[in-house]
Amino acid sequence: MSKAVVDLPPKGGFSFDLCRRNEMLISKGVHPPSFRKTGTTIVGLVFKDGVILGADTRATEGPIVCDKNCEKIHYIAPNIYCCGAGTAADTEAVTDMVSSQLQLHRYHTGRESRVITALTLLKSHLFSYQGYVSAALVLGGVDITGPHLHTIYPHGSTDTLPFATMGSGSLAAMAVFESKFREGLTREEGIELVCEAICSGIFNDLGSGSNVDVCVITKGHKEYLRNHQMPNPRTYVSSKGYTFPKGLTEVLTTKITPLKEKVEVIEGNDAMEE
């Protein structure tokens, strides 16, 4: 009887070899380490002259806020930016990779990058990793064919929309957009609406918080407004500082462990000499 197992050459994409082992470990009670998620509110909208992207700035590790002012709007090309929700490492790595690929493409073609190119590069990468690269993105930019706004889901599907929200605060932000969005907003109106949507996520979703970042992209020009709004300042900071005088802490028990004494080596008289 011949062996039915054939050794296949390693193909690209995700290797599922260790999945069975991981499941076995979990069943034995060994949990994988938790990763830093962005637990986010990210939004984008198309206005009269281009695209506006917005994001909050809180990064969470489970229930702990690990970064109070992180940057979620990533550079892809001079005319294309991308907001990232999901696992922070995944969004950083995937946007850096596509940004580098687009730079090479720009050198070879001598042309400005198109949003659809960034979209296709991102979605093919995410699809080949079958959703294991946990990056949910809002991609926006203005190129020769006009302003574009897309959302990309971790499994690789995309939507093209006039306004979009992603992340844990997406429902809060979408509520604002659905009631107040209209075609042909001006720059000021667009920025105000984006800020309102992000603030809605900041105040109503635990995974989002701190400040509002905004990025305005128009034909031939972009403005990255880092910390455009800071609705969560640290309200009370003691100017005198804090002192903790000795004796303030109550001593409950005392236990003294003497350190081992150093072993003295007594020089033996020519101990080694025969």
Partner: protein, 235 residues
């Protein structure tokens, strides 16, 4: 000379200790169009002749000076297609360096990696050396730099250099004209005068190409109109 018996195989040394294929590659460079580079105190300029085989060729589509990164540019003498391949490889290497170290690649590093590629092709089977010499101009934290890379893979840093058809006349001219405290604009004028020395026919913004990089660290190729302005200043 016994050398000619060893001239067909790249990977065989001749009795005189030369790799004859590389010598021949240098001859291919020597019969290419003149190109030169000058390092000024506050920048670098590289220039080349752009003689097209016929007036019917669309000269706007030919670009001999290419950017490798935002702050490094390159020009060549020799075989155009070989140059294209090297430019592509160098650009990719610069991007990979940036992805790995999140730092713009220093000029010396990029030159070293490009030279390593050129050397590979002198020691592998079934390939031939690149028939180009490159002049790499860049501006990084170490200031303005100009490097020449040969088909053998050796590279040198120059204050001013020339390659191609008119190399000996051009180098003599540069030796006389070069000063350490030259400014970028003077360097451009000197470059134009050097090209003019061996130029057949009427020199204009359409049949030479000039690339410059200054303290702004932005490499760019001058437009034909800008070259014509410089030419007018030189007259």
């Amino acid at each position: 000379m016994g050398d000619s018996q060893y001239s067909f195989s790249l990977t065989t040394f001749s009795p005189s200790g030369k790799l004859v294929q590389i010598e021949y590659a240098l001859m291919a460079v020597g019969s290419g169009q003149t190109s030169l580079g000058i390092k000024a105190a506050n920048g670098v300029v590289i220039a080349t002749e752009k003689k097209l085989p016929s007036i019917l060729v669309d000269e706007a589509s030919v670009q001999k000076i290419q950017p490798l990164t935002t702050n490094i540019g390159v020009v060549y003498s020799g075989m155009g297609p070989d140059f294209r391949v090297l430019v592509r490889k160098s650009r990719k290497q610069a991007q990979q360096y940036f992805r790995l170290y999140k730092e713009q690649i220093p000029v010396t590093q990029l030159v070293r990696e490009t030279a390593a590629v050129m050397q590979e092709f002198t020691q592998s089977g079934g390939v031939r050396p690149f028939g180009v010499s490159l002049l790499v101009a860049g501006f990084d934290d170490d200031g303005p730099q100009l490097y020449q890379v040969d088909p053998s893979g050796s590279y040198f840093s120059w204050k001013a250099s020339a390659m191609g058809k008119n190399v000996s006349n051009a180098k003599t001219f540069l030796e006389k004209r070069y000063t350490d405290d030259m400014e970028l604009d003077d360097a451009v004028h000197t470059a134009i005068l050097t090209l003019k020395e061996g130029f057949e026919g009427q020199i204009s913004g359409k049949n030479i190409e000039i690339g410059i990089i200054g303290t702004d660290r932005n490499f760019r190729v001058l437009t034909p109109a800008e070259i014509d302005d410089y030419l007018a200043e030189v007259e």
